[in-house]
Symmetry: C2
Subunit: 682 residues, 2 copies
C-alpha cells in the first residue's frame, strides 16, 4: 500500500532509529553512546570538586568563632578531612567494583542491610539532592557577589533566579554529555591550580600575597574545655562538606565505556586526587594569605562597612590577593567557580530522576518514575526539586553557612550505611568461600575503616549541627521514609489483589461490536472501517440523539454513504451520551448472555498543548464511564489531525540523567498518516 | 451468569437510575426535578435583590461628592433608576416569552444580530459573572464589618476567604434548589421590609430615626455646569447597579415548572416589584434618617476617628438608627444582608458554567464545557472564576465603590444588545406577517423603549466611569472576544479537516489481535479472555522483555496455565516497551498487508485520587505511542480495583448551574465487578 511504503521509506535514512527499536548493532555504535573518561570526569566530578569551593571557607569560619588563635588547629582539621576523603574514595572504589549496576549506596544498603536501610539511604539521598541545589547555587551566587559586590542586595533573587533557569533548562531537555558541560569543570580546576601555584611561588619569593581581611581581628568567645572540643569538631564537620558528591560516580557506572568498572574507578581516583589537592591547597594558601572569614561580617574587627559591604568568599579573597583585585585572572577564577557550582547544582537535577527510577523499579516510588521517557513525570520531579530548593534558599536567605548545616547529614547517612553494607557484602563472600580471598579481605578492611570513620563523622555532624537546623533534615527524611514504605505496601496489596492463580479463568463468550457515531466524519468512518475489518460476530453503529435535527441528518448521510452496518439511534433525555449507551449495552448483554461488547471510539491525536483543551474530553468521559461497565472493551481508533506532526519533534528531547545512565537519546518516532481513500465502496 | 444477575439485582431498587438512563417516566416525576416558584424566586432573585444592598448607597455617595445640597436630586435620580428597572423587567418579560430556551441575551443577540453581537454579549456576561462575585462579596464583607467594626483590619482577607469558601462549596457540589438557599433571600426581603416599615411608622409618629452620620457635613467640590451634569449622571449610573442580575431569570426558563414561560414571567415581575420597593424604600429612608456616606470616610466633617473606624454601610446606618445600634434586629438585618450578598456571589458560580456550556455548544468555547457533568472541566471553571475574583478583590482592596466602577458596563452591554435583538426579532415577525400582530407590536414597543433606555444608560455609564477603571472591562472583553472567535475558527478548520464526503472509504482488511502481557496477573488474563472471545483472525500474546528472569517466569506460568494463545517475547535493549512493540507491529503489517492490529491493554480503574499517581502511566504512554502507529486500534480492558467503588459516590455530586437548567442530579452509577472465575479451563 502506498502509505505503507511511504512510512517504510521514512525509516531507511534514520539508522539510529532502526537499531533503537531492536535491530542488532555493532558494539561500536553502542559505545558511541557511552561516556569517554574526559567527559565522565566533568559530569561526575563537578559536584564533588565544586564542594571544595566552600568547604575550606566553612572550616576556617567555624574555627574563627574561637578567635584567631584557633587558626593554628586548621592544618590538623584539614588533614583529618583529607584523610577521610582518601578513605571514602578507596571505599567507593570497592563499592563500584562490587556493584557496577549503578545502584550505589542505595543498592548496597538494601541488598545487604535489608529494605529499611535502603529506604533510609534513599531518603537521605533525596534530601541530599535538594540541598546540593540549594548550597551550590547559594555558594555560586556568593562568589558572583564577591566579584561584583554591587549585586549584594540581590543575593536571594539571584539564587532563586538561577534555580529557575536550571529548572527551565532541564525541562527543555539538555544533553549533559556535551563539551559545553566539561569546560567549566576543567576551567575551575585549571584556574584554581594556577592561582595556588602563583600564590606559593610568590610566597617562596618572599612576597607572600596578603588577603584583604588579614589585618582584621575576630571577636573570639571565651570557651570552656567542652565548647573548645565541640568547636574543633564542628569545624571538622563543616570541612567534611568537601566529601559531598563523591558517591556520584558509583551511581553512574553503566554510563562509562568498557571496561566500565576500571574506568569508573580511575575517574573516582582522579576526582579524589584533584579534590584533595585543591582542598589542601586552598586551606594552606588561605592560612598563608591570612584570610579571616567570620560567621557574621560584623564580628570582624576592622571591617568597617560590614553592614553594607558583603564579606567576600575565601576564594575571592585569595584570588584578589594573588592576582590583584578586579584583574582579569581574578574574574576568571570567580567565573569558573560560580560556573562549576551552578553545574554541580545541575547534576542534582540529573541524579534526582535517576534515583527516582531506581526506587520505582523496587516499588518504593510511583511506577511512573521507572518508565524512562515519561517527560510529564520527569517534569514534575524537576519542578518539585526546584520548588523545595527555592523555599530553602529563601528561608536561609541564600546563606551558605546556614544551608551547610543541613547539607552533609544526608551525605554521611548514605556513606555510613553504604559502607556497612559493603562490610556485610565482603564478610558474606568470605563465608560463602570465594576464590580471590586476598582482595576480599582488602575490600573488607577498607570498607570497615570507611564505615567506622563515616559513622563517627555522622555522629559528630549530628551532634554538632542538630541544634543548628540539622533536625529539619531528620524530620523531612522521616516523612519521605514513611511515604516510600506506604507506596511499597500499596503496590504489594495491589499485587495480591491481581495475583493470578492457576484456576483464574474468565469464561466470556460471544462478541458484539458497537461503533459510537456522533456525526458523519472521517474519524467515525475510520473507526467503522476498523470495526468491520475486525469481523465481529455482530456489529452495529449507535448514535445517541441529543438533537433530533442532527440525528436525522446523520441517518440521511448514513443512507447516502450506503453503509451496511445498521445505525441504531438512542434518545437521551438529559443531553448525556454515556448513560443511555450503557443502558443499551446492559440490555444487550442481558439478552445475549456474557458476551464481550467492544465499543469503538474515535480519538483525535493533536499536536499543540492547547489543542488538548479543545478535544477528546467528551470521548474521555464516555470512555471512563464505559470502563466501569461489565463486559465492555473500549477500542480507541486514533485519528491524527495534521497538527499531530508536531509531537515527533518533542519525543526526541533528552531526559535528565540519561547520560549518567548510559542511555541514548531517543530519536523522533514517525507515525504514518491515516490510511488514504482507496475508492473501494461499502 | 451469577455476576450478571447480581448486577441486575443491583439495579432494581434504584428506580431514579432506571429512568435516568432512558426508561419512559410520568411527567410528574420529571416535574419533581423542576423548580417551584417559591424556590425559583430566591434562586434567581438573590443576585438582583442583593444589588439594592449597595445601589442606593453608591447613588447617594456620588451625589454627596457635590455636597449636601445635591441630596435634593436624590429622589429624581432614584426615580429614573426605578423607571429604568420597570422598563427592563417589562422587556425581559417579552424576551422570556420569545426565547424560552434559556439562552437569554446571548441567544437573542446571536440569532438576531449575528455572531459578533452574540460573542460580545457572551464576553460581557463572563466579565459580569466575575464582577458579581467580586462586588457581592465585597459588599457582604462591608456589611459584616458594619456590624462588627473590629473586623475592619481584615477586610481583604475576609473577602478572599469568602471567595475561597464559595469555590470550595461549588467544587464539592451543592444543590442550589434546597430550602437552605431560599432562607437568606426571604429573610433579607423580610427584615429590610420590616425595617423600612418601622422607620416610616416612627416617622409618621413624629420620632423619625436619625442616622449616626446625619450630623456630619461633607466637603463638596465647587462644580462647573458640565461637572454638575456629569455628577448627576454618575450618580444615576451607580444607582443602575440595582439592575444587575435582572437577566438571571431569562437564562433559567427551562428550570421552571410548567407553564414555564408564565411562571418565569411571574417570577420576573415579583422580583422586579420587590426590587423596586426595597430600592425606593431604602433611598427614601436613607434621606429621611439623613445618612451621609462619602467616598472617603475622612471627607465627612464631624466623623472624627475616620482613620481608624470604618464608615458603616447605608443599610447598617439605617438599621441602627431604626432599631438602635447593636440590637438583635440590627444584627438580623446585617446578617441577612451579608447572607444574601454571598448567595448572590454563589449564583455567579452557577451561571458561569451554564453560559460556558451554551458557548461550547455553539463552538465558541472548548467543547468540553458542553459535556454537562465533566466535573474536571467545571472545577477548572470554578477555579478560574474565583482566581480572577480574588485578584480583583485584592486589587481594589475589597472596596465596593472601586469595583462598582467596572461592574455595570458588562450588564448594560448585554441588556442593550439583547433589547436591540428583540426589536429585530419583533420587526422580522411583523414582516413575516404573524397572527397576533397586537402583542407583537406591544413587544416591539416595549423592547424598543428598553433598547433606547439601556443604550443611553450604557453610554452614560461608559462616559462617566471609563476613566474610573471601566476601560479595564473593555480590554478584558476584547481579549475574551478574540479567544472565543479563535476557538470557533479552530473548530471550523478541524471540521473541514474531518469532513467526510461520499467517496471517503477506508479499505482495511485482515484482523490481527495482540495482547500485551507485562506479567501474569488477573487483569492480563481478563484482557486475554476478552481478546479470545472477540474471535480475531489471528491472536498472539506479546511480552516485551526488560528483565530476562521475569520473562522466563512468565513463560513458565504461561505454560502452567496452559494458555493456547502463543506468547511471543521481544527483547528491549533500552528498557522501553512501546518502541520494540511498534517495530514488531510494523513488521507484521508489512508482512500481512493493510490489516487492522488490535492491541489489548489492561487498564486499572482506581478510586482514590492519589492512586492515579501510582497507576497506568506506563500503559498511558504505551497507548499514546501506539495511537500514532498506522492500522492500530487500542483496546482497553478495564480492571476495577476494589477501591474503584469510591467513584460512584463522586459521580452523584450535583454540578453548578444544574438547578437553573432544570437538570436532575445524576444518581450514582453502579458498575458490575469483573467476571468471576467460572472454572472453565483454556
Amino acid at each position: 500500500m502506498t502509505d505503507e511504503s511511504r512510512s517504510e521509506s521514512e525509516d531507511t535514512p534514520r539508522s539510529p532509529k532502526r537499531w533503537l527499536i531492536g535491530d542488532p548493532l555493532p558494539t561500536s555504535t553502542l559505545e558511541g553512546q557511552l561516556l569517554p573518561k574526559h567527559l565522565a570526569l566533568p559530569i561526575f566530578a563537578s559536584d564533588p570538586l565544586s564542594s571544595v569551593a566552600y568547604a575550606p571557607q566553612e572550616l576556617l569560619m567555624i574555627l574563627l568563632l574561637g578567635g584567631l588563635a584557633f587558626l593554628s588547629f586548621a592544618p590538623w582539621v584539614a588533614g583529618a578531612v583529607v584523610l577521610l576523603l582518601i578513605v571514602v574514595v578507596a571505599s567507593y572504589r570497592q563499592l563500584v567494583k562490587a556493584y557496577p549496576s549503578g545502584g550505589g549506596d542505595y543498592e548496597v544498603a538494601s541488598k545487604n542491610l535489608g529494605e529499611k536501610a535502603g529506604v533510609v539511604v534513599a531518603a537521605a539521598l533525596l534530601v541530599d539532592y535538594i540541598l546540593t541545589v540549594a548550597v551550590s547555587v547559594a555558594s555560586g551566587v556568593d562568589n558572583i557577589i564577591s566579584a561584583i559586590p554591587g549585586l549584594n542586595g540581590w543575593r536571594v533573587e539571584l539564587a532563586v533566579g538561577f534555580v529557575v533557569v536550571l529548572a527551565a533548562i532541564n525541562l527543555r531537555g539538555v544533553r549533559e554529555a556535551s563539551k559545553a558541560f566539561a569546560i567549566p569543570t576543567y576551567l575551575f580546576i585549571g584556574s584554581i591550580a594556577v592561582m595556588l601555584v602563583t600564590a606559593l611561588i610568590r610566597m617562596a619569593l618572599g612576597d607572600a600575597p596578603v588577603a584583604e581581611s588579614a589585618g582584621w581581628d575576630v571577636k573570639g568567645e571565651q570557651l570552656t574545655q567542652a565548647a573548645f572540643v565541640l568547636l574543633i569538631l564542628r569545624s571538622f564537620a563543616s570541612g567534611c562538606a568537601a566529601l559531598t558528591g563523591v558517591e556520584a560516580v558509583s551511581n553512574g557506572v553503566p554510563a562509562f565505556r568498557r571496561p566500565k568498572v576500571q574506568n569508573a574507578q580511575r575517574t573516582l581516583v582522579a576526582m579524589g586526587g584533584i579534590a584533595i589537592v585543591l582542598f589542601t591547597g586552598l586551606t594552606v594558601v588561605a592560612l598563608v594569605t591570612g584570610v579571616h572569614y567570620a560567621e557574621r561580617a560584623c564580628d570582624l574587627i576592622g571591617f568597617t562597612d560590614c553592614e553594607t559591604e558583603p564579606q567576600r568568599s575565601l576564594i575571592a579573597q585569595i584570588a584578589s590577593a594573588t592576582f590583584g583585585n578586579n584583574t582579569i585572572p581574578f574574574f576568571i577564577v570567580q567565573a569558573a567557580t560560580a560556573a562549576v557550582l551552578l553545574l554541580a547544582a545541575n547534576t542534582a537535577f540529573n541524579g534526582f530522576p535517576l534515583l527516582g527510577s531506581v526506587l520505582a523499579t523496587d516499588g518504593y516510588a510511583p511506577k511512573a518514575l521507572a518508565t524512562r521517557g515519561d517527560r510529564l513525570i520527569f517534569s514534575n520531579g524537576v519542578l518539585a526539586l526546584s520548588a523545595v530548593a527555592i523555599v530553602l534558599l529563601i528561608g536561609a536567605q541564600a546563606n551558605v553557612t546556614a544551608l551547610i548545616q543541613l547539607y552533609i547529614i544526608g551525605v554521611f547517612i548514605s556513606f555510613t550505611l553504604g559502607q556497612i553494607g559493603m562490610v556485610r557484602h565482603w564478610s558474606r563472600m568470605l563465608r560463602e568461600g570465594c576464590t580471590d580471598r586476598g582482595s576480599v579481605w582488602r575490600g573488607l578492611a577498607i570498607n570497615a575503616l570507611g564505615a567506622l570513620m563515616t559513622a563517627s563523622v555522622l555522629i559528630i555532624v549530628t551532634v554538632t549541627k542538630f541544634v543548628h537546623g540539622a533536625w529539619i533534615v531528620f524530620v523531612v527524611m522521616a516523612v519521605l521514609i514513611l511515604l516510600m514504605i506506604g507506596v511499597n505496601r500499596y503496590y504489594r496489596d495491589v499485587d495480591r489483589e491481581i495475583a493470578a492463580d492457576a484456576t483464574t479463568v474468565f469464561g466470556s463468550s460471544g462478541d458484539h461490536a458497537i461503533v459510537l457515531v456522533g456525526r458523519m466524519s472521517k474519524p467515525v468512518l475510520k473507526a467503522l472501517d476498523y470495526a468491520i475489518a475486525a469481523r465481529h460476530e455482530s456489529i452495529e453503529a449507535i448514535h445517541v440523539s441529543i438533537d433530533d435535527a442532527a440525528s436525522e441528518t446523520l441517518e440521511a448521510q448514513w443512507a447516502e454513504h450506503n453503509i451496511h452496518v445498521p445505525l441504531t439511534v438512542i434518545g437521551s433525555p438529559y443531553r448525556d451520551i454515556s448513560l443511555p449507551l450503557i443502558k443499551y449495552i446492559k440490555q444487550h448483554r442481558a439478552a445475549h448472555g456474557s458476551e464481550v461488547v467492544t465499543v469503538y471510539l474515535p480519538e483525535y491525536i493533536v499536536g499543540h498543548w492547547w489543542e488538548v483543551v479543545l478535544h477528546n474530553h467528551k470521548a474521555r468521559r464516555i470512555r471512563h464511564k464505559l470502563m466501569l461497565v461489565h463486559g465492555v472493551v473500549v477500542a480507541l481508533v486514533p485519528w491524527l489531525l495534521d497538527s499531530s506532526d508536531l509531537i515527533y519533534g518533542r519525543r526526541s528531547r533528552p531526559l535528565p540523567g540519561q547520560d549518567r545512565r548510559g542511555e541514548p537519546v531517543r530519536p523522533p518516532m514517525r507515525a504514518p498518516n491515516p490510511p488514504t481513500p482507496t475508492g473501494r465502496k461499502r
